[in-house]
Amino acid sequence: MDALNPYMDTLIPLIAVLPIAGFLFTAAFGRRLGHNAHLVPVAAVGAAWLIAMAVVYTSFTGGFGEGGHLVKLWEWIPAGNFNVEAAFFVDNLTACLLIVVCTIGLLVHIYSIGYMGHDTGYWRFFAYLNLFMFSMLLLILASNWLVIFVAWELVGLSSYLLIGFWYKKRSAALASKKAFLVNRVGDIGFALGIMAIWVNTGTLDIRESIEILVTHTATLQIPIAVVALLLFAGAMGKSAQFPLHVWLPDAMEGPTPVSALIHAATMVNAGVYLVARANPIFASAPQAMAVVAAIGIFTALFAASIALTQTDIKRVLAYSTLSQLGYMFAALGVGAWTAAIFHLMTHGFFKGLLFLGSGSVIHAVHEEQDMRKMGALAKKIPHTYRTMLIGTIAIAGIPPLAGFFSKDEILGESFKNGFTWVWAIGVVVAVMTAFYMFRLIGLTFWGTSRVDHHTEPKIHESPRVMTIPLWLLAIPSLLLGIVLSWPGPPLGPLFGLEGPGLLASWLHPVFKEGLEIMGREEEAFQIFGIDGALILVSVAVAFAGMLAAWRLFGVGIGPIKGTPRPETVKRLSARVPFLYRASLNKWWFDELNDLVIIRLGGRVANALWWFDRNIVDGIVNGVGSLTGRAGRGLAGIQTGRVQNYALGITIGLIVMIASYVMIVGNGG
């Protein structure tokens, strides 16, 4: 692989260039290619994946050195003392994201060949997907705040296009608009943050500016905590953190591969990436860190509470995504950056898997998304069932699957860093996670069939082009936790090994500075002490959630059998009527937004328009009429008779010329 090193300056840009080339080609010729429209986009992403893996390998084996590798392209905005360079930058953090984005991106492209096969907009779909890949790759490769912002907006655009892909559906059109606008609210913060960075440091190069910000913290024009919070506002929008979470569930209007790729595995991680990238800034502002942690863990709890009762299979997964993203931000807030990226990676794979699986389910039962009309599908779509079960065990945090390792690290670090409240809420969320995910599996795959009897005989497993990506995603969902944490804790010490895990050592150079600023010291991992105890708690709550779900919604894994108890569910939910209704109605957030933005905002806008037509227009018109017609307003002028206009002009002109003459006399 080292033979490739001299070509890195070409290869790294190619990762982003290939998808945009695929987009341009497909946008221009895709319509004529008909059912072969996927060839170029899939090939482009495949090639990008190959190159990305070479780059990732080089990065992890130290080929770029500790500081990463910079590829300069061109001066994008040369505006005097404000210069923005279009340049790419790869370090180990970028490499981690490259793995997630390229791999899941490629698998989703392949899956879509099957899933979108019958859609008339086949070519359009692949064009948009390639546009998204370009934007997302640009986002993680950018070396400059403003270029990140560009990519940030472009992923917003591709997300808009893909959510609204079925443009004839009004709900899809509304959802895409909502997603774009809510994201833009966060983007205001991000843009202001970028401006603040420039005003503070005079540069927008990420590493340079961070260096200046953290070394001159005391003398900054804009306090560093403000910079951090402004950047976080951007992250909240893209990663759908409370209260900017409202767009993500609606984004499920898009085709399911899109939900998997953009709204679960990649784009929504952008905020986590941003905060991780800016870790020294956040480390210098403990108050901002606390805000991040609080919003993160609150979102985790809030979203999980909604996921408990949703009946739409994709919505459960959407709220689950919100909740897991909340975990990641909680991790960022408590300074467990490696854990956040760890969870980002594992979550990307198992949530991507779960979404693609849900797509396969929806496909099987003929575009039905309501879990109340599913049930007992396990035997009929075995591949989907098995892979989704793996994903579920992974997200529920049951060892030794991937989610256990990353989630446990987040909870453990929160506790050890003194954020016991984050840990406590996190544990509650862990119970809920296991519960709602097994509820989903129970309602969908186990128990008795509630499928419409017309559809029932037509249920079929998806084609191989869809199930193979599922299995390929199941592998990392199974193993990624062990691989990335090996040979470090929690498994390493059991075998007498020492030192950090694989991911921790990869990311050490990236987070070194932040950890130094916070004055964090490495603590020894005590498998028979506090760490062991915390792991036991994590495992216990995961099992508790799972068993509760089994008891209520049934189970059917091999010999483990249980029947669903719908009456018990009803009885239990009737016992907490308010909480049940709140969860079912998503805490009435859509209603609140509707009231404040659509109704109140609409009133204000209409009032302003009235003001414009009557007052503003009237005053300026009135100024003329005051002189010409002694304050009778424009009523006379608007009789529609030309003579009146002519008279008005004449009088006005005379008055004006007279006054000019007077002024000129004085002025000279």
């Binding site: 001066e75 994008w76 905005i77 505006a79 005097g80 003392n81 404000f82 912002f149 560009v150 655009l157 443009y167 004839k168 559906k169 009004r170 899809a172 059109a173 608009k177 606008l181 833009r184 983007d187 205001i188 843009a191 202001l192 401006m195 603040a196 420039w198 905002g601 609409g602 806008a605 209409n606 302003l608 328009w609 414009d612 037509r613 009557n614 007052i615 503003v616 227009d617 009237g618 005053i619 300026v620 003329g624 304050g631 009778r632 307003g633 424009l634 002028i637 608007q638 529609g640 206009y645 008005g648 002009i649 006005g652 002109l653 004006m656 000019y660 002024i663 000129v664 002025g667 000279g668």
Partner: protein
């Protein structure tokens, strides 16, 4: 390439006049090709002008000077710097596009229309290259007449109301400006004792930079200039003529109105008002920044609830153009760069949006948003292009609108973070009215209204694409390589900055301010009291439908 000895600027200015005269002598059917040919030749000459322009050279280039009214030192003085260059190029480009776009929609009195359009081009180009204040005023007024005719004769049903309003508003401003020009010349003559150079911009600028005009004149003359330009921009609260004019104007008229005419105001501020009266500019800057912020938010909010496509784009212009004045009056490099880029970008993008609205109107004879819906399924190519320009207008990075907007915000942030925070709200509001409009027009089920004219609703034609293509290309090129423009406008910006840097604010008499505010309050009260008597024509109002 050398064009020594060739009066390039006069050529660009008066070629269209030649074309107009020619059309006058030719039969009606020759009007279209001759007009287009003239505009294209003018455009080519302007490209030659760009080719020989020396970027980075200070001062004015390709100057042409001849005595005109020597008694008063009035000259025929032309010359361009980077700012003029870009705006002239924008004008010549939009001119041939507009003429081409008029081929189908304009079916009556073609000769008169084309003559008006070419004369309009004479005026617009002249404004951007005149370096004599009197000559500038003449060109300024020349613009008014053909535009008056274009809206008044080939406009919509309520065109008379709109034209009168347009002319009255502009006339108020321009006559005030004439007074200011004369007063400046008188003052100059009074102190130097000579008429030589009393109307020459370069001489006056030098005078302003060395001796400086007296405070009282600065305050009054700047106010007069400002009013003229603010009406043209148009700045809140002088903007209400714009929606009416746009709605009634034919498509090409709207394109030129938004694309070039509004830029006259921004240009005038940068070329004359600020360099000649820098101290007054500094004094008024906080007020102007305030009005700009109001305009940015207000224009966007009012655009949200417009039922008519053209009105929506018109109010969006109010919001976008307020970015220009905001950027200019924070008086730093980024703000000025952003302000000028915003002028160019607004010309390209909003021009394109009006062309696109024209495409719908041509087929449906309607612009009511509520009647549209589902166009994406009927006219996919049209919707793709429409979407492109909608996102360009919303400031999508990678396209040109973003760079200007961001630089203005950056300049504003350096001036005062709160200013930038308010202006940045437009990132949401702007996207909101644009995407909501796009959603209602392009997505969903095909509306009953559109269904009823299925046959007539053809996708965008090749000719229409030709008019939009150059704009689209420029939007992408300037989005990816804004350095091209930034390099060209560097010198003019430095000039403005050094003019302002030398000046210091004029202390205002509190009594004067109180008096002005009192008069304003009186006018408002009178207006509100007499409000019930105000009834405008039915066509100009209309309620919003979801």
């Amino acid at each position: 390439m050398s064009l020594d000895g060739v009066p390039v600027l006069s050529l660009i200015t008066f070629l269209p006049l030649l074309g107009a005269v020619l059309i006058g002598f030719l039969p009606e059917r020759a009007a279209r090709p001759v007009a287009l040919g003239t505009a294209l030749v003018t455009w080519l000459v302007s490209l030659a002008m760009i080719a020989v322009f020396e970027v980075g050279k200070p001062g004015f280039q390709m100057a042409e000077v001849a005595d005109w009214i020597p008694t008063f030192g009035i000259q025929y003085h032309l010359g361009i710097d980077g700012l003029s260059l870009t705006l002239v190029a924008l004008t010549t480009t939009l001119s041939w596009i507009s003429i081409l776009a008029s081929f189908r929609p304009i079916k009556t009195r073609i000769k008169g229309y084309m003559i008006s359009f070419l004369i309009l081009e004479v005026g617009m180009v002249g404004v951007f290259i005149a370096l004599d204040t009197f000559l500038f005023y003449i060109f300024w007024e020349i613009v008014l007449v053909p535009m008056y005719l274009i809206i008044g004769i080939w406009g919509g049903s309520n065109r008379i109301y709109a034209t009168i309003k347009f002319v009255l508003y502009t006339l108020v401003g321009s006559l005030l400006m004439l007074v200011a020009i004369l007063a400046t010349a008188f003052t100059f003559q009074g102190t130097t004792g000579s008429w030589v150079g009393a109307f020459d911009f370069e001489v006056l600028r030098h005078y302003a930079a060395t001796s400086g005009f007296p405070d009282a004149l600065q305050l009054l003359a700047f106010a007069a200039f400002f009013l003229a330009f603010a009406i043209k921009v148009p700045m809140f609260p002088f903007h209400t003529w714009l929606p009416d004019a746009h709605v009634e104007a034919p498509t090409a008229g709207s394109v030129i109105l938004a694309g070039v005419l509004l830029k006259l105001g921004g240009y005038g501020l940068l070329r004359f008002a600020i360099p000649l009266f820098p101290a007054a500019a500094l004094t008024y800057a906080p007020l102007i920044i305030c009005l700009s912020l109001i305009g940015i938010i207000y224009g966007a909010v009012v655009a949200l609830v417009q039922p008519d496509l053209k009105k929506l784009v018109a109010y969006s212009s109010v919001s976008h153009m307020a970015f220009v004045t905001l950027g200019v009056f924070v008086f730093n490099q980024q703000g000025l760069q952003g302000g000028i880029l915003q002028m160019i970008n607004h010309g390209l993008i909003t021009g394109a949006l009006f062309l696109l609205v024209g495409v719908i109107y041509e087929r449906t004879h309607d612009r009511t948003i509520a009647k549209m819906g589902g166009l994406a399924g009927i006219t996919p190519t049209y919707v793709a292009i429409f979407g492109f320009f909608v996102f360009a207008s919303a400031g999508l990075p990678g396209l040109s609108g973003f760079v200007g907007e961001f630089l203005v915000l950056l300049g504003a942030f350096a001036f005062n973070p709160a200013t930038a925070a308010v202006a940045a709200l437009v990132m949401v509001l702007g996207a909101a009215y644009l995407l909501w409009m796009f959603q209602r027009v392009a997505t969903g089920e095909v509306s009953d209204f559109l269904k009823s004219l299925r046959g007539h609703l053809t996708d965008i034609s090749g000719l229409e694409i030709v008019t939009l293509l150059p704009l689209g290309i420029l939007v992408v090129v300037f989005g990816l390589l804004p350095g091209i423009l930034l390099e060209v406008i560097k010198e003019p910006i430095n000039d403005v900055l050094s003019d302002v840097a030398r000046a210091s604010e004029i202390p205002l008499d509190p009594m004067l301010v109180a008096g002005a505010l009192g008069i304003l309050a009186f006018v408002i009260v009178v207006r509100v009291v007499t409000l019930p008597g105000l009834r405008r024509p039915a066509a100009a109002t209309g309620e919003i439908a979801a």
